[in-house]
Structure formats: C-alpha cells, structure tokens
Symmetry: C2
Subunit: 314 residues, 2 copies
C-alpha cells in the first residue's frame, strides 16, 4: 500500500505550494523565539571570555552565591576557580543547591550528563556543567540529528519516506512529541560521528555498520527560549542523512521512544505546515526543513523560499 | 586514466585533513571582506525603505546630482520619481553621465542588463538599474551557480568529479579565473529554474532536458568589496547540483568561457585550500564549499568544520 501510494507521487508534485513555504518559515522562526531575550541577557564571563547569556531571573538566583558569581546589571562573571576543574566544582555545588531548593524549574530535568562549555566548538574546555543547566547559562549546546530516509525505488525519482519517532511520555523534555529516528546531545569529549553511531544503537537499534553510513550534511543553529522560560537554548545541530533499507524497522532500545512510524514526505511537510499542530518537537522541524532545502524538495521558485533558507542560516 | 585515478580513491580518503578546512574557511572569509565596509556605508533609501548600502566615495559622486539623490552623512535618499519607472529613468540618466565621465571605474563593466531592486526576493520591484551599478548602490543581487558533477560509478562510493570552467580573457569581471560550469546573474523577471536552463544552454551547451535535472540545494550569501573598491556586492546565490553523464562534454557557446576541464574533487579541494592560488573566482569557492558540506565531503570531526559552516551561513 505504502509503496503504491508513494509511486503515484512524482518529484514535481512534491513541490510545496507557496503557502506551505511561508508556514515552514514560521516553524524556523518559532525555534528562534529567543533572539530578543538573548539581546537583553547578560554575558556569562568565564576566564575573561563571554561564553554564555544569562536572563535576569537566572542572574538573580546566581547572585545569591557571590563567592562563585559576581553579578552586575551588565554581566555575570564566574569568579570561583582558576582552572576548568576548579570552576566546574564550584558551579556544580551551586547547581546542586539550586536544584535542592526547587527554585529553578529547569533543574527538575537533571540528567547527570556532563556538558562542556567552550568559546568555540574546537576551543579548549573552560568549564563542565550538568547538561540540564545549559540554557540557564545560555551556553551553546551541540547535538546530532539523523534524518532516517527510505527510498522506495532507486532512480525512480520518487521522494523518500522519513522515519518519525514519538518520544516517550516519560522524557523530561518534550514528552510525547514527534522526533527524529535518532537525535541526541553531544556528550563531553564525544565526536559527532561517534555520537551518531552510539545513539543509532541506543535509540533505534540501528547496527553500527548501517549507522556508519549516515552522511554529514552541515548544521543548523537557533536561539530558543527554554521550555521553563528561565534561559535560552543556543543549539548547534549537526545534520545527518541516513538512507535505511526498505526492510529495516527501528526498535526502541532505551525507553526514550514510544513508537516509530514511516511517514510519506508530503505527510511530514503537511503536518509541519499546519502551524496549529503542536505534535512536533520544535527543533526537529528545523533539521527536516534543512533537509527539504538541501535535497530540493522545496524549490527556489516558491514564494518565501529565500526567507526560509535565510532563516535557517541566520 | 581519469576513471582509474578516481577509483583508487575511497570516500574515506576524501576527508580533508584539519588544516585544509581552516584554509577553506579563509576562502569563505575572503568573500565576506565587505562586512566592515558595509557597516560604515550609508543606507540607500528608496520610497522610505533602506534597499542598499553606499560607500563614501560613491556617495560623493551621487551628491553631484541633487535633483536625484539627497546625500547626507547618514543616508543617500533617492528623491526623484514616485514610481519604479520614474525612479529608474532618473537613475539611468545619472548612471549614463557617470559612465561617460569615466569617474566611476565600476561602470566600465557596463552590461546593458536590467537589475531589479527590491526589499526582499519576493517583494515588489522599487527600481531597476544597470547590472554593473549593483555594487555602487550595494543592493542585493541574485544569481544561480551550478555544480556540474560526474559520478564515475553509481553506488561505488567514489566521489564525483567537478566540471570547472576557465572564464574568457575578455570577460569584464574576473577574466581568466576558474568558475562553475554554469553560473549567472538572475535577470529582471527571471525565475531561478529558468535562469539555470537558459545559462546551461548559453554557457555550456547543456540541452534543456538535461539542465532541467539540476537539483536546487539552498543558497549562499556573502558581502564582498567590489573589485574596483567603489561598492559592496551583497550577493545571494541559488545553488544547484547537476549530475552530468560521463560521456557529456560541455561546449562554450557564447564566448564567455575559454575552456572546460573535468577535475577530481580532491584536486578542487587542494587548489582552493592553497590560499596563494588566485585562479578561482572568489564566490565560486563559497558555492563549492557549500556542496562539500552538504554532500559530506567535509566532515564534522575535522577541526574548523563548525567555523566553516557557520561562515557559509552567516
């Protein structure tokens, strides 16, 4: 049934009509709803470098620890420690106290996962924090998202289908939302290619030799208000495309995914273009739209194309 | 010979070493050498909208035509005409006088090609100018670049070769430089897909049915000081990938290209990474590097990857 349905659809027919592109733009803009908040935020200064952005109410909480943070109207400076290790220990102590106090809702999503804070992706680590506190300090986070694509017939020109995951109801963030087949944050010291292979196995049961065929395809970035409103997520996502065999079915391994479904690409586009639809984890839409642009499923002749691509790349 | 050489090279071996990625970054930065000049430039105001950026010496020349341009320290306002037609006629008259005076070297590259000036790609046309004057007014220009790729063996994993054009010595801009097999500025009223088909025929003798298979893959933009130093080029390039058959050989049709050569991808990368090599038309490198990123020939594990991709997307 699925294959017959997709075979009836030509590549030309996949072109999203003008209004759809404008709706896709809103998905990208929704992921950049933190730009104004970021402009008002105070720089987090570590070892003389501005490495993050702190919102006013988070700064007020950090000001209660003056031996660790020197908070003024214009900046939040980490003053404890003169090495990455010493700073990290001091900040871990503050975060533990804030978590126990229950005053910072974001910390309810504690993960026990170390997150490196650096001036650039290839720069030395200046500080290591608990991952759940990343948006509190507004430090860039890096992750990998994998578009799991299934081409029904090589060379037929038929667009691929996309594996879509439904997040488990127990996830601390975005429970029950639609997600990529594989997506995860980069752990401390982990390379993107290693992350993809690990997460493919852990999240979807994709064997290593198949996962290793995932092709890197660039990155997207955005600046989003954290779900709790206490910080900004400044994420950089490495985008991968993985062509999966028609007979492969992903299997949830670690309880993070409730179910997997194979969607027609047009179904994905229509669902994202329905801006009342709140099923999607927002950043997943940005990575899928980037794939639609890269693979030519959204076309330059459509009104709004330039705006969508520029928003993806801003 | 060529096929044997490329067959020896595996996809893994194509990964550019760390230093190469840093050198590719310099190519992208070189195309953005107009960012500082643009920050100092005065807005070109047309019908109440800032549509361009004018450098100081260009503003001084335009100030000699006070019935058309109201020039102050903070802006250059087009005051003649209250319709696109009337404004365009007034500006055409100024440009003709400037061209005849020989005072603005940029206008020696006169093309007799109409260029629309708009607030956004899909916005109404506010003004039409001679294309050669685009950088004088610092108005965004739109073009299409086609990566002409030849895969030697379907499914072998061998990277494609790239058709490279040597521009004719008689070209007004970048004579003798290396270029895409097909690249051109969008003419007034022309869609990107139409432009690609037209330029494929005119520049390389690629028949329409083959040209129509070019796949759109997004866009790159940059802000570059004009060759003459009189303006900034704020270009937006629609990127296309066109897989050409192994037995197809492009043929120069319109005298704009001196010769075509089929290069191994590694030869292209090495040549661009040699920053002393001045053979390349600068913006061509940006489009090729975007293709290397999209198609995974440059990888996230390499030092500098994030910087290169962010520079491409800035």
């Amino acid at each position: 049934m699925r294959q017959q349905a997709s075979a009836r659809r030509s590549l030309a027919a996949m072109t999203a009509p003008a209004s759809v592109v404008g709706d896709l733009l809103r998905r990208v803009q929704a992921c950049n709803n933190g730009v104004e908040a970021a402009a008002r935020a105070r720089p987090l200064v570590v070892g003389g470098q501005a490495l993050g952005l702190v919102l006013a109410k988070a700064a007020d909480e950090l000001a209660r620890f003056p031996e660790v943070f020197h908070v003024t109207k214009s900046s939040v400076e980490l003053v404890a420690g003169d090495s990455a290790e010493a700073r990290s220990a001091a900040v871990a102590d503050v975060l533990a106290q804030l978590r126990n106090s229950g005053r910072v809702p974001m910390l309810a999503g504690w993960r026990n996962e170390a997150w490196p804070v650096k001036a650039g992706f290839d720069s030395p680590i200046e500080l290591v924090i608990e991952r759940a506190a990343g948006p509190l300090f507004g430090v860039p986070g890096y992750g990998c998202h994998v578009n799991g694509l299934v081409y029904s017939d090589a060379g037929s020109g038929t667009p691929p289908r996309l594996w879509v995951a439904r997040r488990a109801a127990s996830k601390p963030t975005y429970p029950g939302k639609l997600d990529h087949v594989v997506a995860g944050g980069l752990s401390h010291g982990e390379r993107p290619s290693e992350n993809v292979v690990r997460e493919c196995q852990e999240e979807a049961g994709i064997p290593q030799e198949l996962a290793a065929q995932a092709k890197p395809a660039g990155l997207v970035s955005y600046c989003q208000v954290d779900e709790t409103g206490w910080g900004v997520k400044r994420d950089v996502l490495f985008c991968y495309d993985l062509e999966l065999p028609r007979d492969f079915v992903p299997e949830a391994q670690d309880g993070e995914v409730e179910s997997f479904e194979l969607w027609e690409l047009q179904q994905v586009i229509n669902s994202m273009a329905d801006t009342k639809n709140e099923d999607w984890k927002p950043n997943v839409c940005v990575v899928i739209i980037d794939m639609l642009v890269r693979r030519g499923f959204v076309k330059p002749g459509e009104v709004g194309y330039v705006d969508v691509v520029r928003a993806l790349r801003s």
